[in-house]
Symmetry: C2
Subunit: 740 residues, 2 copies
């Protein structure tokens, strides 16, 4: 169904690219302790039965050797079941306004309807997953991985389409620009949620061309801290942001998912306090006190403070040590001590970040949301705060604390010299140099974050997992060789051996989480918007990085991750707000940076000495409001542009209206016939006969004053006649008056 | 139909409250010059014929004596025509998402459908008006008042329902608070556009209770310029604004008009450059170059500058003269000269405002919008700028120029003394006093605008037009008496005399323009948000004013205006943005006012001498961003509340889904039957017979590898069996490993 077999049946290697029509694989991990084994076995047979009841065919195979796991292969058993699911889902879409027209408006037989609007692979997989996870009340199997009865269900995942993946990676690595068609392919395979990420990435990549070119020119001609560059950069970020908002809607319409955000998936982890009857619909709804949730949401404030305190302290400490060592200290081991802050950061930053991310997860779980989206939004908010601090706080400190207040603060670094003195055996003071603000520091830092960090990030994201897997595999192979003799029932049928090997590998891969990729791009956009005025080449670096990023993300999905479940989405979700926030904040920081560092005003050593606070504040205030005005204007102009998506929507609505109006013509014909019953009101140019007049006189005797009023002039001709007489009368009266 | 006759047919005074089923009256003005008379006559007979063709019954009567006009009474001739119009309109609503469900979903016969969802008076009148004004291509009559062929059509208006009006005014003048039912009545009579105004007024009135109470307390305990009052006031304005945004949606849903903004009325004055084919729908569309329009819209900038220059100069001049006379000059005629600035303002301000409003109208016409709403939006934008300047500029000048910079600026007022000196015959200098900043000035000005001006406004809005009409009538009566003898064809039938007299009076009334009432309320809200920190009693004054305002506006509609055409609306339109803008600006001005005038910091004479610019800017910056954060939070909290409108929508959607699912059960039954065709995949607990096995072996020989894969375990029981075996195997392997 989903796959067309590309080898004739019975050929020698049918399973090289072949998925045997499997919709999902359920990775069932068995516990090692014998006490739990019985429970796991009972849960397993329950699993197979609920799946069968929900309409799935199942096949069981052993998992990877030594992994103590089973693989349950699952597919929708019958075509009519699939069709019924699809039809229901399309009806729901239509009710929520996601589709303009009802499915099958002309009431074709179902089979012919599905020929005209076929089921895509993503749709099939999405509905199959929903059917596996939906509760039994909703006719699903109610299997929720890792929760409750199903705690041994390690994961439920669809299988990669190897042939497609191979083609995909080959194609993308040989072309410069991705087009709509590439995105559509992604959408059909991995669903709109993943496709939206690539669409965003692509749109951002294209938009980067301008600041890359302009930034290079500015770097050559204007240098850093140019107000002109800052203004253009802000304008660009406004246009990019507003354009993406439009593009997002446009894509959603084109992909037929506009408004799917309204169809919420219930979150299986949600714990309700009580059940109550919905006063409106009479359905039973699960309720969790919103006040309790609000109270728990309030924990976000201490969480944010904790992030600032923990990460802030780390950054400030390393910062202080670094300044002390690099710019004050000139004693022993300086060349080694220079690396101390970097080492500290490299050790502690990921540790703290991981801890805080765990904490954020816990907090979000505690908030106990009813829907997956609400949960996700709340989590994204928290990690945005976290990443904002880890990514930007260092630069903020340099720009807005170190440079303006350095002269005041650095003497306090003597704490270090005093401490250091205690460790020197000899009684003489440590050698230190007279300190001066290092104006290049900020630039170096920005370059570090926008170039070095991006490369490091690429390495940790793609190369490390790949290398890890390779290493693991070698170890496993050695192990497997030594254990080979023990194989018993675990032997695979030769037809399936290659396929099963592939599936076992996929089961070990990580889940693909698009959030991480979004986070990376949004944080990157932040550097551009907030700090690129320091080093205008920023966008060039990002342009190159993002070309690689798109390909490496594709690789990550195709090779390093399980195939994602093809969820739908109608936007990039909560990241949109983060983008808007960063774009706005950019107007503040750019103005402040230009004001503080523009060399025209700065002292002889390049540091800005003559800062007047009110002028700084005024420039920030001015810049921010200019930004808001520009945003308003850009939004207004962009709203007037047409787009393929909107055209599509218009066309659909028009087709729908035409269909309905055609149906209405029958109504009108009927109405017109019914209308003939009403006597003497419409008929123009009716002949007045004696009979008619008599009839009228008779009827007048019995009717009320309304009828009388309306029958003084019978038909338009009489009305015109009387009207003309009146006009003549008035004209005569006027002339008489004029003559007098 | 629309009216139920409340007097039995043939009673003595059937027409006292009776409108003879008239839908619309067309007031047809005849030209006085004989040369044009023929044209007018031709157009008149064309008028009657196009109306008849569009399905209207017509009756002609003479207009008011000496007014050279005819009255054409119009009603929809047949019930089926009305029903067909209503049905079409409801279909359109549904297509645009205004209605959740299609009209008549269960396919009742039309007559029974209209029993279940009857046609309201407002609906009937709206559709009748549309049918009169729609082009002939759309089966309308194409009559557009005052334009082209129809330049003699002075107006098209529905008739007041006297009985309802009388009851309405009586009821409202005796109750304190209007409820939902009152609004629903307004809605059914005058349409949603007018109802929204009263809903807004009512909501605003209720919200005013809090600042009125709190303001009184603050006035007693804290005095003016309290930062605490300012903070609470800002918070209040945020909550009010966000609440109204929710309420607006809620009402729109309750009234079934949510999203009607998407159904745009074409503007008859629109002039197209060329016709072209819509690439999407294939319809002919009229096109006007958007670039041309953009160029013309750019004229708004010089317009705004012109407003600022003209009105600003006037205000500044009067302001300067006033300060000079009141606070510097102590010479002759001081008691009379004091009134000079007021007189100047009273003469020139309305003149300039009228001129600039005319200019705004011209500009908006020039922008040549395609739809009525776009035109209206653009016009409202312009008059908001105009009114912003006339209303607030004076106070801004006092607060932010006169007080902080007075000491620097006032010496320049010597220009006046020098000029004045020339006019004194004696050579000695004019007597002047030493000038000091008058700290009460700002408060006096705010009180003037929030109390005195509101009363004056009430008088000009209600009392003046009423008095005017009374005076006119007396004059007319005298004239009529002297001309009585000339009456000829103009004699009315006694049955209709009273009715016609009433209609002739209504024809002379002004059109009701809800924009003017909105403007008044929005500007009032501005005083509260921007300046009430100066005088915390502001809200008390407004509370009283608005109680009267609601009643006087009702009076204005019922007595002083033609009955408005019952247009629909789903919001208060462009005024919402104005409200948001004023609320936001309030956070800036309040912070600045508190900072500048708070007596704790001010000098001994009550004027703030020790102003540090950076602290002022910082407090403004802080206040603004606090405002934005609070707005964000309030919006988030309010979005979580339920409301009757949203409940209604949910209920409708639920009913719809239920209906569809019931219809789908048939589908499912069919599907299940079809599903039985698929062999051996779903059947759980199938008995394995020899025949079945043989059959299977035969089929296996011919099928591809997929089938083979899925038929290794036949049915769930076998899968469970194999799975258990695997589990046992693994457990054994584990135990063996553990033992070794």
């Amino acid at each position: 169904m989903a796959e067309t077999p590309d080898h004739p049946a019975g050929s020698s290697s049918p399973s090289k690219y072949h998925n045997f029509d499997v919709d999902y694989v359920i990775h069932y991990k068995l516990p090692t302790s014998p006490s739990e084994s019985a429970k796991a076995e009972a849960a397993f047979s329950q699993l197979i039965h609920v799946l069968a009841k929900a309409g799935f065919a199942t096949e069981v195979r052993p998992g990877k050797q030594g992994s103590n796991s089973l693989l349950v292969f699952v597919k929708l058993a019958s075509l009519p079941l699939l069709q019924s699911q699809v039809y229901r889902s399309r009806i729901q879409d239509w009710l929520y306004g996601v589709r303009t027209a009802a499915p099958n408006p002309t009431n074709l037989p179902l089979s012919r309807y599905f020929d005209s609007e076929p089921v895509t692979e993503a749709e099939r997989l999405r509905l199959a997953y929903l059917l596996i996870t939906k509760t039994k009340n909703e006719n699903g199997a109610g299997v929720t991985p890792k929760i409750g009865t199903w705690k041994y269900v390690e994961s439920i995942f669809p299988l990669h389409d190897r042939k497609f993946n191979r083609q995909w990676i080959t194609e993308w690595s040989t072309k410069y620009v991705l087009d709509e068609e590439d995105l559509t392919k992604i959408r059909d395979k991995f669903g709109e949620r993943v496709a939206f990420y690539f669409a965003f990435l692509q749109s951002y990549f294209k938009f980067l061309l301008f600041p890359a070119a302009f930034g290079s020119a500015a770097w050559l001609l204007l240098g850093g801290f140019s107000w002109f560059y800052a203004a253009v950069n802000c304008l660009w970020s406004v246009i990019f942001f507003e354009h993406w908002k439009m593009k997002e809607v446009d894509l959603a319409v084109q992909w037929g998912v506009r408004g799917v955000g309204k169809i919420q998936l219930p979150r299986p982890q949600f714990q309700f306090e009580r059940e109550s009857l919905d006063p409106v619909t009479g359905e039973i709804v699960k309720v969790y006190s919103p006040y309790k949730r609000l109270a728990r949401q309030a924990l976000q404030v201490p969480f944010a403070i904790a992030c600032v305190v923990v990460l802030g302290n780390l950054i400030v400490s390393c910062f202080a040590i670094e300044i002390f060592i690099n710019e004050v200290y000139i004693g022993l081991f300086k060349q080694y001590l220079t690396f101390l802050p970097t080492i500290l950061l490299t050790i502690f930053m990921p540790t703290f970040t991981t801890l805080l991310t765990k904490l954020a997860e816990k907090l979000t779980d505690l908030e106990n949301y009813e829907t997956v989206d609400a949960h996700q939004d709340s989590f994204v908010q928290k990690i945005f705060v976290l990443n904002f601090i880890t990514s930007y706080l260092g630069i903020f400190l340099t720009a807005f604390v170190y440079v303006p207040f350095g002269k005041i603060l650095v003497p306090y670094l003597d704490v270090f010299s005093m401490t250091a003195q205690k460790f020197t055996t000899e009684g003489k003071p440590l050698p230190t140099q007279v300190w001066q603000i290092n104006p290049d520091r900020l630039k170096k830092q920005v370059i570090y974050f926008t170039v070095t960090a991006q490369i490091v990030n690429f390495a940790t994201e793609v190369i490390v997992p790949y290398a890890k897997r390779k290493a693991f595999k070698t170890v496993e192979k050695v192990q497997a060789l030594s254990e080979k003799n023990e194989e018993g029932l675990l032997k695979d049928s030769p037809d399936e051996a290659a396929f099963l090997k592939r599936v076992r590998n996929e089961a070990e891969l990580a889940d693909y989480d698009v959030t991480i990729d979004y986070r990376e791009m949004v944080i990157q956009f932040g550097y551009l918007s907030l700090f690129s005025v320091v080093w205008p080449l920023t966008a060039c670096s990002f342009l190159i990085n993002n070309w690689v990023e798109a390909r490496s993300d594709a690789m990550k999905i195709a090779v390093n991750s399980k195939r994602p479940i093809p969820w739908r989405a109608d936007s990039i979700g909560p990241w949109l707000n983060s983008l808007g926030f960063l774009s706005w904040l950019g107007s503040l920081t750019s103005a402040a940076l230009v004001f503080l560092f523009n060399t025209n005003k700065s002292g002889p050593d390049g540091s800005p000495w003559e800062i007047s606070a009110w002028a700084l504040l005024l420039s920030i205030l001015f810049s921010e409001h200019l930004y808001l005005v520009v945003q308003f204007v850009v939004r207004g102009v962009l709203a007037k542009l047409d787009s393929p998506g909107l055209q599509k929507e218009r066309a659909e609505r028009f087709a729908m209206r035409k269909l309905l109006l055609e149906q209405m013509i029958e109504h009108d014909v009927l109405s017109a016939e019914a209308g003939k019953g009403a006597p003497g009101l419409l008929g123009s140019g009716e002949i007045i006969t004696r009979e008619a007049l008599e009839e009228e006189a008779r009827s007048l005797a019995t009717v009320g004053p309304e009828k009388l009023f309306w029958q003084r002039q019978r038909g338009p001709d009489e009305a015109v006649h009387i009207g003309r007489a009146l006009i003549a009368e008035i004209a005569t009266a006027n002339q008489t008056k004029a003559r007098r």
